[in-house]
Amino acid sequence: MSSINRHAKHITATVVGNKRIGQYHQILLSVGDIVQSTHPGNFVAISVGGENSAMILRRAFAISRISHRSDKGDGTMELIVAPHGSGSRWLCAQPEGASLDVIAPLGTAFGIPTAPAQALLVGGGYGSAPLFGLAEVLKSRGCRVDMILGASTASKIYAPIEGKRSVNSLKIYTEDGSAGISGKVTDPIPGLIQEGVVDVIYSCGPMAMLAAISRIANAAEVVHQCAVEESMACGIGVCMTCVLPVENSEGETKMLRSCIEGPVMDGANVQWELVGKVAK
Protein backbone atom coordinates (compact mmCIF):
# COMPACT_ATOMS: atom_id res chain seq x y z
CA MET A 1 0.00 0.00 0.00
CA SER A 2 1.09 3.50 -0.70
CA SER A 3 0.14 6.65 1.17
CA ILE A 4 -2.05 8.06 -1.62
CA ASN A 5 -5.73 8.20 -0.63
CA ARG A 6 -4.62 6.97 2.76
CA HIS A 7 -7.72 8.03 4.66
CA ALA A 8 -10.23 7.69 1.82
CA LYS A 9 -13.21 5.49 2.62
CA HIS A 10 -16.09 4.48 0.45
CA ILE A 11 -19.21 5.01 2.56
CA THR A 12 -22.95 5.45 2.48
CA ALA A 13 -23.77 8.83 3.98
CA THR A 14 -27.19 10.02 5.06
CA VAL A 15 -28.49 13.48 4.34
CA VAL A 16 -29.43 14.95 7.72
CA GLY A 17 -29.97 18.52 6.55
CA ASN A 18 -30.54 20.40 3.31
CA LYS A 19 -31.11 24.14 3.60
CA ARG A 20 -31.12 26.79 0.91
CA ILE A 21 -28.82 29.71 1.66
CA GLY A 22 -28.80 32.34 -1.06
CA GLN A 23 -28.00 30.56 -4.29
CA TYR A 24 -26.49 27.59 -2.47
CA HIS A 25 -27.61 24.53 -0.60
CA GLN A 26 -26.05 23.78 2.75
CA ILE A 27 -26.07 19.99 2.88
CA LEU A 28 -25.32 18.18 6.10
CA LEU A 29 -24.22 14.55 5.85
CA SER A 30 -23.93 11.96 8.56
CA VAL A 31 -20.69 10.19 7.70
CA GLY A 32 -19.55 8.36 10.83
CA ASP A 33 -15.91 7.89 11.77
CA ILE A 34 -14.25 9.43 8.75
CA VAL A 35 -14.43 12.91 10.22
CA GLN A 36 -11.54 11.84 12.45
CA SER A 37 -9.17 11.91 9.51
CA THR A 38 -10.74 14.88 7.71
CA HIS A 39 -8.93 18.20 7.56
CA PRO A 40 -9.79 21.61 6.11
CA GLY A 41 -9.17 21.53 2.37
CA ASN A 42 -10.16 17.91 1.86
CA PHE A 43 -13.03 17.14 -0.47
CA VAL A 44 -15.66 14.45 -1.06
CA ALA A 45 -16.62 12.66 -4.29
CA ILE A 46 -20.31 11.82 -4.55
CA SER A 47 -22.21 9.60 -7.01
CA VAL A 48 -25.14 11.49 -8.52
CA GLY A 49 -28.40 10.58 -10.22
CA GLY A 50 -29.23 7.36 -8.45
CA GLU A 51 -29.00 3.73 -9.51
CA ASN A 52 -29.86 4.12 -13.20
CA SER A 53 -28.06 7.38 -13.75
CA ALA A 54 -26.61 8.32 -17.11
CA MET A 55 -24.08 10.39 -15.13
CA ILE A 56 -21.31 7.93 -14.52
CA LEU A 57 -18.78 10.17 -12.79
CA ARG A 58 -18.69 11.40 -9.21
CA ARG A 59 -18.94 15.10 -8.39
CA ALA A 60 -16.37 16.76 -6.14
CA PHE A 61 -17.31 19.11 -3.30
CA ALA A 62 -15.17 20.80 -0.71
CA ILE A 63 -15.88 19.83 2.88
CA SER A 64 -17.02 23.03 4.52
CA ARG A 65 -17.02 21.97 8.16
CA ILE A 66 -17.09 18.82 10.20
CA SER A 67 -18.35 18.02 13.65
CA HIS A 68 -17.81 14.91 15.71
CA ARG A 69 -19.15 13.26 18.72
CA SER A 70 -16.38 10.76 18.42
CA ASP A 71 -17.68 8.58 21.24
CA LYS A 72 -20.72 7.84 19.11
CA GLY A 73 -18.95 7.56 15.79
CA ASP A 74 -21.55 9.88 14.29
CA GLY A 75 -19.57 12.63 12.67
CA THR A 76 -21.21 15.03 10.23
CA MET A 77 -19.88 16.92 7.26
CA GLU A 78 -21.26 20.07 5.75
CA LEU A 79 -21.12 20.83 2.03
CA ILE A 80 -22.04 24.07 0.28
CA VAL A 81 -23.38 23.17 -3.14
CA ALA A 82 -24.22 25.46 -6.04
CA PRO A 83 -26.94 23.97 -8.25
CA HIS A 84 -24.93 24.25 -11.45
CA GLY A 85 -25.57 21.36 -13.84
CA SER A 86 -27.60 18.17 -13.64
CA GLY A 87 -25.44 16.45 -11.01
CA SER A 88 -25.30 19.26 -8.48
CA ARG A 89 -28.99 19.99 -9.04
CA TRP A 90 -29.76 16.36 -8.26
CA LEU A 91 -27.72 16.63 -5.08
CA CYS A 92 -29.48 19.83 -4.01
CA ALA A 93 -32.81 18.04 -4.50
CA GLN A 94 -31.98 15.20 -2.08
CA PRO A 95 -34.28 15.27 0.92
CA GLU A 96 -33.37 14.57 4.53
CA GLY A 97 -32.99 10.85 4.98
CA ALA A 98 -31.64 10.18 1.49
CA SER A 99 -28.58 7.95 1.20
CA LEU A 100 -25.54 9.09 -0.78
CA ASP A 101 -22.61 7.10 -2.11
CA VAL A 102 -19.56 9.06 -0.96
CA ILE A 103 -15.80 8.71 -1.03
CA ALA A 104 -14.04 10.87 1.53
CA PRO A 105 -11.85 12.43 2.69
CA LEU A 106 -9.85 13.06 -0.46
CA GLY A 107 -6.99 15.31 -1.43
CA THR A 108 -4.51 17.47 0.41
CA ALA A 109 -5.37 19.74 3.33
CA PHE A 110 -4.39 23.30 4.13
CA GLY A 111 -1.11 23.44 6.02
CA ILE A 112 -1.51 24.86 9.53
CA PRO A 113 1.26 27.16 10.86
CA THR A 114 3.19 25.56 13.67
CA ALA A 115 3.32 28.87 15.56
CA PRO A 116 0.51 31.43 15.85
CA ALA A 117 0.42 33.60 12.71
CA GLN A 118 -1.72 36.21 10.99
CA ALA A 119 -3.78 34.45 8.36
CA LEU A 120 -5.76 36.03 5.56
CA LEU A 121 -8.51 33.80 4.16
CA VAL A 122 -9.86 34.74 0.76
CA GLY A 123 -12.93 33.04 -0.72
CA GLY A 124 -14.84 33.48 -3.96
CA GLY A 125 -18.46 32.26 -4.30
CA TYR A 126 -18.89 28.81 -2.75
CA GLY A 127 -15.10 28.85 -2.34
CA SER A 128 -15.69 30.26 1.12
CA ALA A 129 -17.05 26.88 2.19
CA PRO A 130 -13.80 25.22 3.32
CA LEU A 131 -12.47 28.47 4.78
CA PHE A 132 -14.86 28.39 7.73
CA GLY A 133 -13.63 24.98 8.82
CA LEU A 134 -10.08 26.22 8.31
CA ALA A 135 -10.76 29.37 10.35
CA GLU A 136 -11.89 27.27 13.33
CA VAL A 137 -8.68 25.25 13.26
CA LEU A 138 -6.48 28.34 12.86
CA LYS A 139 -8.24 30.10 15.76
CA SER A 140 -7.79 27.07 17.99
CA ARG A 141 -4.05 27.29 17.24
CA GLY A 142 -3.93 30.91 18.31
CA CYS A 143 -3.83 32.49 14.86
CA ARG A 144 -5.40 35.78 13.93
CA VAL A 145 -7.91 35.14 11.14
CA ASP A 146 -9.06 37.84 8.71
CA MET A 147 -11.50 36.80 6.03
CA ILE A 148 -12.43 38.42 2.74
CA LEU A 149 -15.27 36.93 0.70
CA GLY A 150 -16.36 37.96 -2.74
CA ALA A 151 -18.80 37.10 -5.49
CA SER A 152 -20.49 38.70 -8.44
CA THR A 153 -23.62 39.40 -6.41
CA ALA A 154 -24.99 39.17 -2.85
CA SER A 155 -26.83 35.87 -3.24
CA LYS A 156 -23.59 34.17 -4.25
CA ILE A 157 -21.84 35.13 -1.03
CA TYR A 158 -21.74 32.26 1.43
CA ALA A 159 -21.11 33.63 4.92
CA PRO A 160 -23.14 31.88 7.63
CA ILE A 161 -23.61 33.66 10.93
CA GLU A 162 -22.05 30.81 12.95
CA GLY A 163 -18.99 31.08 10.71
CA LYS A 164 -18.40 34.68 11.67
CA ARG A 165 -17.59 33.65 15.21
CA SER A 166 -14.37 31.98 14.18
CA VAL A 167 -12.88 34.98 12.39
CA ASN A 168 -11.42 38.20 13.74
CA SER A 169 -12.72 40.22 10.83
CA LEU A 170 -14.88 39.57 7.81
CA LYS A 171 -15.13 41.81 4.75
CA ILE A 172 -17.48 41.16 1.85
CA TYR A 173 -17.01 42.31 -1.73
CA THR A 174 -19.53 42.06 -4.54
CA GLU A 175 -18.89 43.11 -8.09
CA ASP A 176 -22.36 44.60 -8.44
CA GLY A 177 -22.21 46.23 -5.02
CA SER A 178 -25.33 44.40 -3.83
CA ALA A 179 -23.64 43.52 -0.53
CA GLY A 180 -20.58 44.76 1.31
CA ILE A 181 -17.98 46.72 -0.59
CA SER A 182 -18.26 47.13 -4.34
CA GLY A 183 -15.27 45.49 -6.00
CA LYS A 184 -13.14 42.37 -6.07
CA VAL A 185 -11.70 40.36 -3.21
CA THR A 186 -8.26 40.98 -4.62
CA ASP A 187 -8.55 44.78 -4.25
CA PRO A 188 -7.65 45.04 -0.54
CA ILE A 189 -4.97 42.35 -0.41
CA PRO A 190 -1.91 44.46 -1.41
CA GLY A 191 -2.86 47.06 1.22
CA LEU A 192 -3.24 44.44 3.94
CA ILE A 193 0.12 42.93 3.08
CA GLN A 194 1.67 46.39 3.20
CA GLU A 195 0.18 46.92 6.65
CA GLY A 196 2.08 43.84 7.76
CA VAL A 197 -1.01 41.96 8.98
CA VAL A 198 -0.62 39.01 6.59
CA ASP A 199 1.81 36.15 7.25
CA VAL A 200 0.00 33.60 5.11
CA ILE A 201 -2.84 33.66 2.59
CA TYR A 202 -5.34 30.83 2.22
CA SER A 203 -7.67 30.96 -0.75
CA CYS A 204 -10.42 29.03 -2.48
CA GLY A 205 -12.57 30.10 -5.41
CA PRO A 206 -12.52 30.45 -9.18
CA MET A 207 -9.20 29.74 -10.86
CA ALA A 208 -8.88 33.31 -12.15
CA MET A 209 -9.15 34.60 -8.59
CA LEU A 210 -6.52 32.16 -7.35
CA ALA A 211 -4.20 33.22 -10.15
CA ALA A 212 -4.66 36.91 -9.30
CA ILE A 213 -3.98 36.27 -5.60
CA SER A 214 -0.90 34.25 -6.55
CA ARG A 215 0.48 37.20 -8.50
CA ILE A 216 -0.01 39.50 -5.51
CA ALA A 217 1.40 36.97 -3.03
CA ASN A 218 4.39 36.15 -5.23
CA ALA A 219 5.25 39.81 -5.65
CA ALA A 220 5.09 40.34 -1.89
CA GLU A 221 6.72 36.99 -1.13
CA VAL A 222 3.85 35.93 1.11
CA VAL A 223 3.04 32.23 1.43
CA HIS A 224 -0.16 31.42 -0.45
CA GLN A 225 -2.01 28.14 -0.15
CA CYS A 226 -4.88 27.81 -2.57
CA ALA A 227 -7.49 25.12 -3.13
CA VAL A 228 -7.84 24.63 -6.88
CA GLU A 229 -10.76 23.28 -8.88
CA GLU A 230 -10.14 21.28 -12.03
CA SER A 231 -12.63 18.88 -13.66
CA MET A 232 -12.10 15.47 -12.11
CA ALA A 233 -13.20 12.14 -13.49
CA CYS A 234 -12.01 9.92 -10.63
CA GLY A 235 -10.93 12.07 -7.68
CA ILE A 236 -8.47 9.39 -6.56
CA GLY A 237 -5.50 9.86 -8.88
CA VAL A 238 -6.05 7.16 -11.47
CA CYS A 239 -7.33 9.02 -14.54
CA MET A 240 -4.97 12.00 -15.08
CA THR A 241 -7.76 14.35 -16.14
CA CYS A 242 -7.40 16.89 -13.32
CA VAL A 243 -3.82 18.01 -13.86
CA LEU A 244 -2.30 21.44 -13.41
CA PRO A 245 1.15 22.67 -14.47
CA VAL A 246 3.18 23.00 -11.29
CA GLU A 247 6.85 23.86 -10.94
CA ASN A 248 8.91 21.59 -8.75
CA SER A 249 11.99 22.37 -6.72
CA GLU A 250 14.25 21.74 -9.72
CA GLY A 251 12.39 24.38 -11.70
CA GLU A 252 10.72 21.84 -13.99
CA THR A 253 7.01 22.15 -14.73
CA LYS A 254 5.09 18.90 -14.20
CA MET A 255 1.44 18.18 -14.77
CA LEU A 256 0.30 17.29 -11.25
CA ARG A 257 -3.01 15.68 -10.37
CA SER A 258 -5.04 18.19 -8.42
CA CYS A 259 -7.06 15.41 -6.78
CA ILE A 260 -4.15 13.82 -4.92
CA GLU A 261 -1.43 16.49 -5.03
CA GLY A 262 -4.19 19.07 -4.52
CA PRO A 263 -6.70 20.57 -4.21
CA VAL A 264 -4.54 22.56 -1.79
CA MET A 265 -1.40 23.63 -3.59
CA ASP A 266 1.30 26.21 -3.10
CA GLY A 267 0.08 29.11 -5.22
CA ALA A 268 3.63 30.14 -6.04
CA ASN A 269 4.31 26.87 -7.82
CA VAL A 270 1.20 26.66 -9.98
CA GLN A 271 2.01 27.93 -13.46
CA TRP A 272 -1.28 29.74 -13.90
CA GLU A 273 -0.44 31.12 -17.31
CA LEU A 274 0.05 27.60 -18.64
CA VAL A 275 -3.30 26.21 -17.46
CA GLY A 276 -5.25 25.04 -20.51
CA LYS A 277 -2.32 25.85 -22.80
CA VAL A 278 -0.21 23.45 -24.81
CA ALA A 279 1.95 21.62 -22.32
CA LYS A 280 5.67 22.17 -22.47
Partner: protein, 310 residues
Protein backbone atom coordinates in the same frame (compact mmCIF):
# COMPACT_ATOMS: atom_id res chain seq x y z
CA UNK B 1 -19.07 -22.74 -5.81
CA UNK B 2 -15.51 -23.20 -4.61
CA UNK B 3 -15.26 -25.77 -7.39
CA UNK B 4 -15.26 -23.22 -10.21
CA UNK B 5 -11.95 -22.88 -12.03
CA UNK B 6 -11.76 -19.11 -12.31
CA UNK B 7 -8.27 -18.93 -13.78
CA UNK B 8 -7.54 -17.76 -17.29
CA UNK B 9 -4.75 -17.60 -19.80
CA UNK B 10 -3.86 -15.06 -22.42
CA UNK B 11 -1.54 -17.03 -24.64
CA UNK B 12 1.25 -18.37 -22.43
CA UNK B 13 0.36 -16.06 -19.52
CA UNK B 14 -1.69 -17.53 -16.65
CA UNK B 15 -3.80 -15.53 -14.21
CA UNK B 16 -5.70 -16.78 -11.16
CA UNK B 17 -8.71 -14.59 -12.00
CA UNK B 18 -9.83 -13.03 -15.28
CA UNK B 19 -10.50 -9.49 -14.02
CA UNK B 20 -7.84 -6.84 -14.61
CA UNK B 21 -7.48 -3.10 -14.51
CA UNK B 22 -7.60 -1.29 -17.86
CA UNK B 23 -4.60 0.62 -19.08
CA UNK B 24 -4.80 4.28 -18.15
CA UNK B 25 -7.60 3.72 -15.66
CA UNK B 26 -5.51 2.62 -12.70
CA UNK B 27 -2.43 4.79 -13.16
CA UNK B 28 0.45 2.65 -11.92
CA UNK B 29 -1.54 0.91 -9.20
CA UNK B 30 -0.49 2.81 -6.08
CA UNK B 31 -3.62 4.93 -5.99
CA UNK B 32 -5.92 1.90 -5.88
CA UNK B 33 -3.91 -0.08 -3.37
CA UNK B 34 -5.61 1.86 -0.62
CA UNK B 35 -8.94 0.33 -1.64
CA UNK B 36 -7.94 -3.31 -2.21
CA UNK B 37 -4.76 -5.40 -2.35
CA UNK B 38 -3.50 -5.37 -5.91
CA UNK B 39 -2.73 -9.07 -5.87
CA UNK B 40 -6.42 -9.85 -5.29
CA UNK B 41 -7.21 -9.22 -8.96
CA UNK B 42 -6.03 -10.96 -12.11
CA UNK B 43 -3.47 -8.35 -13.07
CA UNK B 44 -2.68 -4.67 -13.04
CA UNK B 45 -2.45 -3.32 -16.57
CA UNK B 46 -0.33 -0.18 -16.29
CA UNK B 47 -0.90 3.11 -18.08
CA UNK B 48 0.69 3.06 -21.53
CA UNK B 49 4.30 4.04 -21.11
CA UNK B 50 6.39 5.75 -23.75
CA UNK B 51 10.11 6.12 -24.21
CA UNK B 52 10.41 9.66 -22.87
CA UNK B 53 8.56 11.53 -20.15
CA UNK B 54 5.51 13.32 -21.58
CA UNK B 55 3.39 16.12 -20.12
CA UNK B 56 0.32 15.05 -22.08
CA UNK B 57 -2.38 17.40 -23.31
CA UNK B 58 -3.59 20.59 -21.70
CA UNK B 59 -6.88 20.64 -19.78
CA UNK B 60 -9.82 20.23 -20.11
CA UNK B 61 -8.99 16.59 -20.61
CA UNK B 62 -12.39 15.13 -19.97
CA UNK B 63 -16.09 15.54 -20.60
CA UNK B 64 -18.91 13.46 -19.23
CA UNK B 65 -21.34 12.15 -21.87
CA UNK B 66 -24.56 10.12 -21.53
CA UNK B 67 -23.47 6.89 -19.79
CA UNK B 68 -19.91 7.57 -20.84
CA UNK B 69 -17.03 10.00 -20.87
CA UNK B 70 -14.46 11.39 -23.25
CA UNK B 71 -10.81 11.63 -22.32
CA UNK B 72 -7.87 13.21 -23.96
CA UNK B 73 -4.89 12.67 -21.71
CA UNK B 74 -2.26 12.51 -24.42
CA UNK B 75 -0.32 9.70 -22.77
CA UNK B 76 1.12 11.76 -19.94
CA UNK B 77 3.75 9.68 -18.21
CA UNK B 78 7.21 9.54 -16.67
CA UNK B 79 8.93 7.68 -19.53
CA UNK B 80 10.20 4.10 -19.45
CA UNK B 81 13.28 4.75 -17.29
CA UNK B 82 11.46 6.30 -14.36
CA UNK B 83 8.68 3.73 -14.79
CA UNK B 84 11.13 0.81 -14.53
CA UNK B 85 12.94 2.41 -11.64
CA UNK B 86 9.88 3.29 -9.54
CA UNK B 87 6.65 1.67 -10.59
CA UNK B 88 7.55 -1.87 -11.58
CA UNK B 89 9.55 -2.73 -8.44
CA UNK B 90 6.74 -1.36 -6.27
CA UNK B 91 4.09 -3.40 -8.10
CA UNK B 92 6.14 -6.57 -7.89
CA UNK B 93 6.65 -5.95 -4.18
CA UNK B 94 2.87 -6.02 -3.79
CA UNK B 95 2.89 -9.45 -5.46
CA UNK B 96 0.69 -8.00 -8.16
CA UNK B 97 0.71 -9.62 -11.58
CA UNK B 98 1.72 -6.92 -14.00
CA UNK B 99 0.91 -6.32 -17.64
CA UNK B 100 2.90 -3.41 -18.98
CA UNK B 101 1.23 -1.33 -21.66
CA UNK B 102 3.56 0.35 -24.13
CA UNK B 103 3.02 3.04 -26.75
CA UNK B 104 5.35 4.56 -29.32
CA UNK B 105 5.48 7.37 -31.82
CA UNK B 106 6.96 5.19 -34.54
CA UNK B 107 7.52 1.51 -35.22
CA UNK B 108 11.05 1.60 -33.89
CA UNK B 109 10.06 3.05 -30.51
CA UNK B 110 7.85 0.05 -29.73
CA UNK B 111 10.82 -2.27 -30.27
CA UNK B 112 13.05 -0.13 -28.09
CA UNK B 113 10.44 -0.26 -25.33
CA UNK B 114 10.14 -4.02 -25.72
CA UNK B 115 13.91 -4.37 -25.42
CA UNK B 116 13.89 -2.38 -22.18
CA UNK B 117 11.18 -4.64 -20.77
CA UNK B 118 12.70 -7.91 -21.92
CA UNK B 119 15.29 -7.90 -19.20
CA UNK B 120 12.85 -7.03 -16.41
CA UNK B 121 11.81 -10.10 -14.49
CA UNK B 122 8.31 -10.74 -13.23
CA UNK B 123 6.21 -9.08 -15.94
CA UNK B 124 3.28 -11.29 -16.97
CA UNK B 125 2.72 -9.79 -20.42
CA UNK B 126 3.13 -6.70 -22.54
CA UNK B 127 0.07 -4.93 -23.88
CA UNK B 128 0.94 -3.11 -27.07
CA UNK B 129 -1.28 -0.04 -27.37
CA UNK B 130 -1.34 0.79 -31.05
CA UNK B 131 -4.06 3.43 -30.79
CA UNK B 132 -1.49 6.19 -31.02
CA UNK B 133 -0.63 8.52 -33.85
CA UNK B 134 2.25 7.38 -36.01
CA UNK B 135 4.33 10.53 -36.33
CA UNK B 136 6.07 9.08 -39.36
CA UNK B 137 2.80 8.68 -41.28
CA UNK B 138 0.90 11.97 -40.96
CA UNK B 139 -0.23 11.07 -37.46
CA UNK B 140 -2.36 8.19 -38.74
CA UNK B 141 -3.19 5.95 -35.81
CA UNK B 142 -1.25 2.66 -36.07
CA UNK B 143 -4.33 0.64 -35.17
CA UNK B 144 -6.23 2.09 -38.14
CA UNK B 145 -3.60 0.97 -40.63
CA UNK B 146 -3.16 -2.76 -41.25
CA UNK B 147 0.47 -2.37 -42.39
CA UNK B 148 1.58 -0.12 -39.57
CA UNK B 149 -0.07 -2.27 -36.92
CA UNK B 150 1.59 -5.41 -38.31
CA UNK B 151 4.93 -3.66 -38.46
CA UNK B 152 4.71 -2.63 -34.80
CA UNK B 153 3.86 -6.13 -33.66
CA UNK B 154 6.45 -7.69 -35.89
CA UNK B 155 9.14 -5.48 -34.37
CA UNK B 156 8.05 -6.19 -30.79
CA UNK B 157 7.86 -9.93 -31.46
CA UNK B 158 11.37 -10.04 -32.91
CA UNK B 159 12.72 -8.07 -29.98
CA UNK B 160 11.05 -10.12 -27.29
CA UNK B 161 11.57 -13.52 -28.84
CA UNK B 162 9.28 -15.82 -26.91
CA UNK B 163 10.12 -14.37 -23.53
CA UNK B 164 7.05 -12.31 -22.71
CA UNK B 165 3.53 -12.80 -24.08
CA UNK B 166 2.33 -10.01 -26.37
CA UNK B 167 -1.22 -8.70 -26.17
CA UNK B 168 -2.08 -6.21 -28.90
CA UNK B 169 -4.74 -3.62 -28.12
CA UNK B 170 -6.91 -2.64 -31.05
CA UNK B 171 -9.03 0.38 -31.84
CA UNK B 172 -12.71 -0.05 -32.77
CA UNK B 173 -12.46 2.94 -35.13
CA UNK B 174 -11.90 0.81 -38.20
CA UNK B 175 -14.03 -0.50 -41.03
CA UNK B 176 -13.06 -4.14 -40.45
CA UNK B 177 -11.67 -5.09 -37.06
CA UNK B 178 -11.06 -8.69 -38.15
CA UNK B 179 -8.63 -7.57 -40.85
CA UNK B 180 -6.50 -5.69 -38.32
CA UNK B 181 -6.78 -8.58 -35.86
CA UNK B 182 -5.63 -11.16 -38.37
CA UNK B 183 -2.70 -8.97 -39.36
CA UNK B 184 -1.33 -8.56 -35.86
CA UNK B 185 -1.90 -12.21 -34.99
CA UNK B 186 0.04 -13.21 -38.10
CA UNK B 187 2.77 -10.85 -36.97
CA UNK B 188 3.05 -12.67 -33.66
CA UNK B 189 0.46 -11.39 -31.20
CA UNK B 190 -0.36 -13.98 -28.53
CA UNK B 191 -3.61 -12.28 -27.62
CA UNK B 192 -5.70 -9.21 -28.40
CA UNK B 193 -7.17 -6.48 -26.23
CA UNK B 194 -10.54 -5.19 -27.41
CA UNK B 195 -11.56 -2.40 -27.37
CA UNK B 196 -9.76 0.88 -26.92
CA UNK B 197 -11.91 4.02 -26.72
CA UNK B 198 -14.10 5.19 -29.61
CA UNK B 199 -13.14 8.54 -31.11
CA UNK B 200 -15.65 11.20 -30.10
CA UNK B 201 -16.13 14.90 -29.52
CA UNK B 202 -18.18 17.17 -27.31
CA UNK B 203 -18.84 20.80 -28.22
CA UNK B 204 -19.14 23.10 -25.23
CA UNK B 205 -22.28 25.11 -26.00
CA UNK B 206 -21.11 27.95 -23.76
CA UNK B 207 -17.76 28.55 -25.43
CA UNK B 208 -19.13 27.13 -28.70
CA UNK B 209 -15.88 25.27 -29.30
CA UNK B 210 -14.76 21.67 -28.81
CA UNK B 211 -14.79 21.13 -25.04
CA UNK B 212 -11.51 19.21 -24.84
CA UNK B 213 -8.26 21.02 -25.37
CA UNK B 214 -7.31 18.14 -27.64
CA UNK B 215 -10.61 18.62 -29.53
CA UNK B 216 -11.39 14.92 -30.00
CA UNK B 217 -11.20 12.39 -27.21
CA UNK B 218 -11.77 8.73 -26.51
CA UNK B 219 -15.28 7.62 -25.57
CA UNK B 220 -15.45 4.99 -22.82
CA UNK B 221 -17.90 3.65 -20.27
CA UNK B 222 -21.23 1.78 -20.46
CA UNK B 223 -22.27 3.74 -23.57
CA UNK B 224 -19.75 1.80 -25.68
CA UNK B 225 -20.40 -1.66 -24.26
CA UNK B 226 -22.51 -2.78 -27.25
CA UNK B 227 -19.64 -1.73 -29.53
CA UNK B 228 -17.15 -3.69 -27.44
CA UNK B 229 -19.34 -6.80 -27.44
CA UNK B 230 -19.74 -6.62 -31.21
CA UNK B 231 -15.99 -6.24 -31.80
CA UNK B 232 -15.16 -9.10 -29.46
CA UNK B 233 -17.80 -11.31 -31.05
CA UNK B 234 -16.56 -10.59 -34.57
CA UNK B 235 -12.91 -11.20 -33.72
CA UNK B 236 -13.63 -14.36 -31.75
CA UNK B 237 -15.66 -15.67 -34.67
CA UNK B 238 -12.88 -14.91 -37.10
CA UNK B 239 -9.98 -16.05 -34.84
CA UNK B 240 -11.47 -18.51 -32.34
CA UNK B 241 -8.06 -19.62 -31.06
CA UNK B 242 -6.75 -16.16 -30.22
CA UNK B 243 -7.44 -15.18 -26.61
CA UNK B 244 -9.08 -11.82 -26.10
CA UNK B 245 -8.80 -9.43 -23.17
CA UNK B 246 -12.18 -7.69 -23.33
CA UNK B 247 -13.02 -4.20 -22.13
CA UNK B 248 -15.50 -1.43 -22.74
CA UNK B 249 -18.14 -0.32 -20.27
CA UNK B 250 -17.91 -3.20 -17.81
CA UNK B 251 -19.14 -2.27 -14.35
CA UNK B 252 -20.78 -5.46 -13.08
CA UNK B 253 -20.32 -9.20 -13.20
CA UNK B 254 -23.25 -9.34 -15.61
CA UNK B 255 -21.46 -6.98 -18.00
CA UNK B 256 -18.24 -8.98 -17.72
CA UNK B 257 -20.14 -12.18 -18.51
CA UNK B 258 -21.56 -10.56 -21.63
CA UNK B 259 -18.06 -9.91 -22.97
CA UNK B 260 -16.91 -13.39 -21.97
CA UNK B 261 -19.82 -15.09 -23.72
CA UNK B 262 -18.93 -13.01 -26.80
CA UNK B 263 -15.39 -14.38 -26.70
CA UNK B 264 -13.25 -12.65 -24.08
CA UNK B 265 -10.94 -14.74 -21.88
CA UNK B 266 -10.26 -11.86 -19.52
CA UNK B 267 -11.86 -8.53 -18.64
CA UNK B 268 -10.34 -5.13 -18.02
CA UNK B 269 -12.36 -2.66 -16.00
CA UNK B 270 -11.61 0.95 -16.93
CA UNK B 271 -13.96 3.87 -16.54
CA UNK B 272 -16.08 2.09 -13.93
CA UNK B 273 -13.14 2.41 -11.53
CA UNK B 274 -13.62 6.18 -11.67
CA UNK B 275 -17.16 5.88 -10.37
CA UNK B 276 -16.19 3.36 -7.75
CA UNK B 277 -12.61 2.37 -6.88
CA UNK B 278 -13.62 -1.13 -5.83
CA UNK B 279 -15.59 -1.93 -8.98
CA UNK B 280 -12.95 -4.44 -10.06
CA UNK B 281 -13.34 -6.41 -6.84
CA UNK B 282 -17.14 -6.35 -7.18
CA UNK B 283 -17.02 -7.43 -10.83
CA UNK B 284 -14.70 -10.27 -9.92
CA UNK B 285 -16.98 -11.50 -7.14
CA UNK B 286 -20.18 -11.15 -9.16
CA UNK B 287 -18.69 -12.83 -12.20
CA UNK B 288 -17.52 -15.80 -10.18
CA UNK B 289 -20.97 -16.19 -8.63
CA UNK B 290 -22.74 -15.83 -11.95
CA UNK B 291 -20.59 -18.44 -13.66
CA UNK B 292 -21.19 -20.84 -10.80
CA UNK B 293 -24.92 -20.14 -10.78
CA UNK B 294 -25.09 -20.90 -14.48
CA UNK B 295 -23.39 -24.21 -13.88
CA UNK B 296 -20.07 -23.58 -15.57
CA UNK B 297 -17.24 -25.70 -14.21
CA UNK B 298 -14.65 -23.22 -15.40
CA UNK B 299 -14.41 -19.73 -16.78
CA UNK B 300 -12.87 -21.27 -19.87
CA UNK B 301 -16.11 -23.07 -20.71
CA UNK B 302 -17.96 -19.76 -20.86
CA UNK B 303 -15.52 -18.06 -23.22
CA UNK B 304 -17.31 -17.54 -26.53
CA UNK B 305 -20.30 -19.60 -25.37
CA UNK B 306 -22.68 -17.28 -27.28
CA UNK B 307 -21.20 -18.68 -30.50
CA UNK B 308 -22.22 -22.30 -29.82
CA UNK B 309 -23.84 -24.22 -32.72
CA UNK B 310 -22.83 -21.59 -35.19
Amino acid sequence: MSELDFSTTLGPAWFPTPVFTASGCASSGKELSQFFPLNAIGAVVTKSIMLKARPGRPTPRMAETPSGMLNSIGLQGPGIDAFLANDIPWLLEQNARVIVSIAGENVEEYSVLARRLRSVGGISAIEVNISCPNVENRGLVFACDPNASRAVVDGVRRTLGGDIPIIVKLSPDVTDITEIARGVVDAGADALSLINTVLGMVINVDTMRPHLAGKTGGLSGPAIRPIAVRNIYQVHQSLPKTPILGMGGVRSGRDALELILAGASGISVGTATFSNPVTIINVQKELRELLAAKGFASLRDAVGFAHRNE
